[in-house]
Amino acid sequence: MSDLKTIAVAMSGGVDSSTVAAIVRAEGHNVIGLTMQLWNQRRLAGHEGMPEAVKGRCCSLDDVYDARRVAEHIGIPYYVVNHEERFEREVVRPFVSEYLSGRTPIPCSLCNNHLKFDQLHVVARQIGADFVATGHYARVEYSDVSGRWLLKRPADRSKDQTYFLFGLTQEQLGRTLFPLGGMNKPEVRELARKHGLALAEKPDSQEICFVPGGDYKRFIDAYLAESGESLPDTSGELVTPEGEVIGEHAGIHNFTVGQRKGLGVATGSPLYVIQINRADKQVVVGSDDHLYSRTLRGHRVNLISVDELREPMRVSAKIRHRHEAAPAMLEKIAADEVRVTFDEPQRAVTPGQAAVFYDDDVVVGGAWIA
C-alpha cells in the first residue's frame, strides 16, 4: 500500500486488534478506532445458574476501557458503536434456535457475516473510512488471474481463523485488511510491547463472547427465561442406530454430534451421539464407528476464489474449527447446495457447523452443514 488511506480498525480491547491499530497508525494512515458494543455482559448476570459478573471478555467494560486506552495511547479518535439489537437478532437468537433444533451453531461466523463485516463496514464507509482492519489471523489478496479477492490462510497456521470467515463477500474482502496475516502470536505480542501497549500480555479470549463459562445450556435457559419464553419441550428417547430405545433425555439442545459425556446411560462400551432427530425428538447413540461418514451436504453456500462450481473440484474440507482439513471432492448438487465427498470417512460431521473448502492456502468457499 503506497498511498495513505482512512482505515477503521475494529478494536475489541484484545492484543490482536490493538496491535493492528498501532501498526496501521505507525504506517501513517488516518486511523479511526471502533468498538462494537454487541452484548450487555451484565444482562443475564445473576439469572439462575449464571455467573454474577463477567470480566475480561469482549464487550465487557474492561475491554472497552482497554481499547479506549490503546486509542488514546496511539493518538487516534475512538468510538463505541451500539449494535446490540442486531447482534441479538442475527447471532444470539439463531444460536438459541439452532440448539433447540438439534444443531450445533457457530455464532462467530454469524457475527462476522452480519456484524463485523457487514454493519461495521457500513458504519466505516459512512464515517469516511476506505477500509476496515481487524485482528483476524487470515490474509486477503487480489488475484489478477481470476479478478477476484482471495481469502488465504495466515502464516501462523495454529491461529488460522479463515474457518470463521468463509461467508465474506467479494465486496467485503475488497475493503478488509488483516495486518496480522503474516505474523505469529509471539511476534504480535512483541509488536504490542514495541508500541508500548499496556495490554501486550493480556490473555487470549477463547469462549463464545456472550456465553459466560462456556455453559451454553444455562445460557439458553436464562435467555429464554428473561424474554418470557418457555424452553420448548424437546425431551425424548435415546435410541440405538437399530431403533432400540435405551433411555430418555431431557431435550435435544443438550446434545452435540460426537458428544460422549452426559448421555445418562451406562453401557459396557463408550457411546456417542451420532445423530439428533428433531422431528421425533430422538437422540441416536452408538459406538465410535457410527460417527464416521464420507459425505455431507452443505447449503447456503458462499464461494470466494471462484464465482461458480461448474464441475466437481478437488479440495480439502474442514468441518469444524479444530478439524484438520481432509481431502475431498466438492460438487454442486442444487442451486444453493453442495455435496462434499471425503477420500476417507470423517468423524462427527455436525449439522449447524460450517464446511469450509480449501485449495492449499486459498479458501474456495464454504457452506453450512445440513
Binding site: 458494543q37 472497552v64 458503536v81 451500539n82 446490540e84 437468537r93 433447540l100 433444533s101
Partner: protein, 392 residues
C-alpha cells in the same frame, strides 16, 4: 481543523471571566471557609458573595441556597431529602437519570412512585399531575427544561397543584438556569437543582435551592457545612465560579442575549430543515430554552452521524451514552412516542454563549452533506431476520 462545539447541553466551556474569578481561590486565597483565621474569613466571604449571586439568579434568598458537587447531587439531595419510605412521589418519564434513578432507589426502599407520560412534544400535562395525587403524595419532581428537546414544562401550574395538595415540588432546572430568567417564587417550588458546568462554570459544582422552612434530610454526614444540609468542605473555587457565572447570566438577560441565542438556534434549525428532506424538529411547537434544537433525519443512524461530524470537527450528540460509551436511543424521545428508528436518527444541537454566527455557518456547511452521505451509504433494508430454524 477548526472545531465547533454545539453540545452545550452536555457541558459548556468555562467563560474567561469565570476562570478569572475562580483562579485566585486555588493559590492566593486557598483557605478553608470554615477556618476562623484570615484565610478562612477570606474564602467564607467569597462563598457567601457567590451564594448571593446564585440566589439573585433564582429569585430566592441566600440562606435558601445549598452548594453541592453538581446537578446529580442536587437532584439526589432533593429527592432523598424530601421523601422517605411510605411516601408517594410523582415524577415524569422524561426526567434526567439523576432524578429517575433516585426515584427508582426510593421505590426499592419503600416509596411509591408515579412516572407521568408526556405528549408528542415532550410536555407533561398538569392534569396528569393532579390525577396522580394521592393522600400520601409527599413530593412532585418535574424538570423545568428537558435536556434532549429543550422543551419547557408547565412548572408554574404544577407548583400550584403541589401547593394545594400540600406536597413538596422539586424542579430540575439544570438545563434552564442561565438560559431563561427564573423566579422560584413564581414557580412556587420548594426545591430547584442547578449545575455549574451547564452554565459556563466548571464541572464539579452545583446548587440546590431549598425553600426556607422546608425540612431536608442530608445525604452526607460530617461537619455542619451549608447549615448542616451538606457536609463537606466547600469547593471554594467552584462555588466562586458558579457565583460569577450567575452574575454574568443575569447581565446577559439585561442585554437580551437569550433572544440573540434563540435567533442563532432558529437560523441553524431553519436552514437545516430547508436543505434536508425528511427531517423535522422533535418537540416542535412547544416553548423551548433558546439554545437547543433536536432534529430527526429519517433513514440515518444518529451514531454514525455524530461520529462523521466529529471527524469533521463538529461536536453534537444523539441519545444517551451507556456505560461503555455506546449510544442507546433517548428515553425522552421514546417517551414522546417517537418510533425507535426515528429516535435513533435524532441529533441534538445545543448552543452556548461562546458560539457565534460563524459557528452556525460552519455547522450548516457540514450537516446537510453528512446526512446525504449517510443516506447514500445506508444499507438497503434487509428482509426479516435470517432465522435458520424456528422455535419448534
Amino acid at each position: 481543523m477548526r472545531r465547533i462545539y454545539l453540545d452545550n447541553n452536555s457541558t459548556t466551556p468555562v467563560l474567561p471571566e469565570v476562570l478569572d474569578a475562580m483562579r485566585p481561590y486555588f493559590e492566593e486565597h486557598f483557605g478553608n471557609a470554615s477556618s476562623i483565621h484570615h484565610h478562612g474569613q477570606e474564602t467564607r466571604a467569597a462563598v457567601e458573595r457567590a451564594r448571593d449571586s446564585v440566589a439573585a439568579l433564582l429569585g430566592c434568598s441566600a440562606a435558601e441556597i445549598v452548594f453541592t458537587s453538581g446537578g446529580t447531587e442536587a437532584d439526589n439531595l432533593a429527592i432523598a431529602g424530601l421523601a422517605e419510605p411510605g411516601d408517594h412521589i410523582i415524577t415524569s418519564c422524561i426526567e434526567h437519570h439523576a432524578v429517575l434513578q433516585a426515584c427508582k432507589h426510593l421505590e426499592e426502599a419503600g416509596c411509591e412512585v408515579t412516572y407521568l407520560p408526556v405528549d408528542g412534544r415532550s410536555v407533561v400535562d398538569p392534569d396528569d399531575v393532579r390525577r396522580a395525587l394521592r393522600r400520601n403524595t409527599k413530593l412532585i419532581s418535574v424538570m423545568l427544561a428537558n435536556n434532549e428537546t429543550g422543551v419547557l414544562q408547565p412548572v408554574e401550574e404544577i407548583g400550584k397543584i403541589a401547593a394545594e395538595a400540600d406536597a413538596c415540588f422539586h424542579t430540575d432546572a439544570v438545563q434552564a438556569a442561565a438560559k431563561i430568567p427564573i423566579d422560584v417564587r413564581k414557580i412556587s417550588c420548594d426545591a430547584m437543582s442547578i449545575s455549574g458546568h451547564k452554565m459556563h462554570a466548571p464541572q464539579g459544582v452545583g446548587a440546590l435551592y431549598v425553600r426556607k422552612g422546608t425540612h431536608l434530610r442530608p445525604l452526607f454526614f460530617g461537619g455542619r457545612h451549608e447549615r448542616s444540609r451538606r457536609a463537606g468542605t466547600e469547593n471554594v473555587p467552584g462555588i466562586v465560579a458558579l457565583g460569577r457565572a450567575a452574575d454574568l447570566a443575569l447581565q446577559s438577560f439585561e442585554r437580551d442575549d437569550d433572544r440573540k441565542m434563540s435567533a442563532l438556534r432558529d437560523r441553524l434549525q431553519q436552514r437545516i430543515l430547508a436543505q434536508v428532506e425528511d427531517a423535522g424538529v422533535n418537540g416542535e411547537g412547544a416553548p423551548r430554552v433558546p439554545n437547543t434544537c433536536n432534529i430527526y433525519f429519517d433513514q440515518i443512524d444518529g451514531e454514525a452521524m455524530v461520529i462523521s461530524l466529529d471527524l469533521k470537527g463538529l461536536a453534537v450528540s444523539t441519545g444517551a451514552a451507556c456505560s461503555s460509551g455506546a449510544i442507546e436511543p433517548s428515553h425522552v424521545l421514546i417517551a414522546m412516542g417517537l418510533p425507535a428508528d426515528r429516535a435513533r436518527a435524532s441529533i441534538r444541537f445545543s448552543l452556548g454563549k461562546q458560539n457565534t454566527g460563524e459557528d452556525i455557518d460552519l455547522a450548516l456547511a457540514l450537516v446537510p452533506e453528512a446526512v446525504a452521505r449517510l443516506r447514500e451509504l445506508a444499507p438497503t433494508p434487509r428482509k426479516g431476520p435470517t432465522l435458520i430454524g424456528r422455535w419448534q
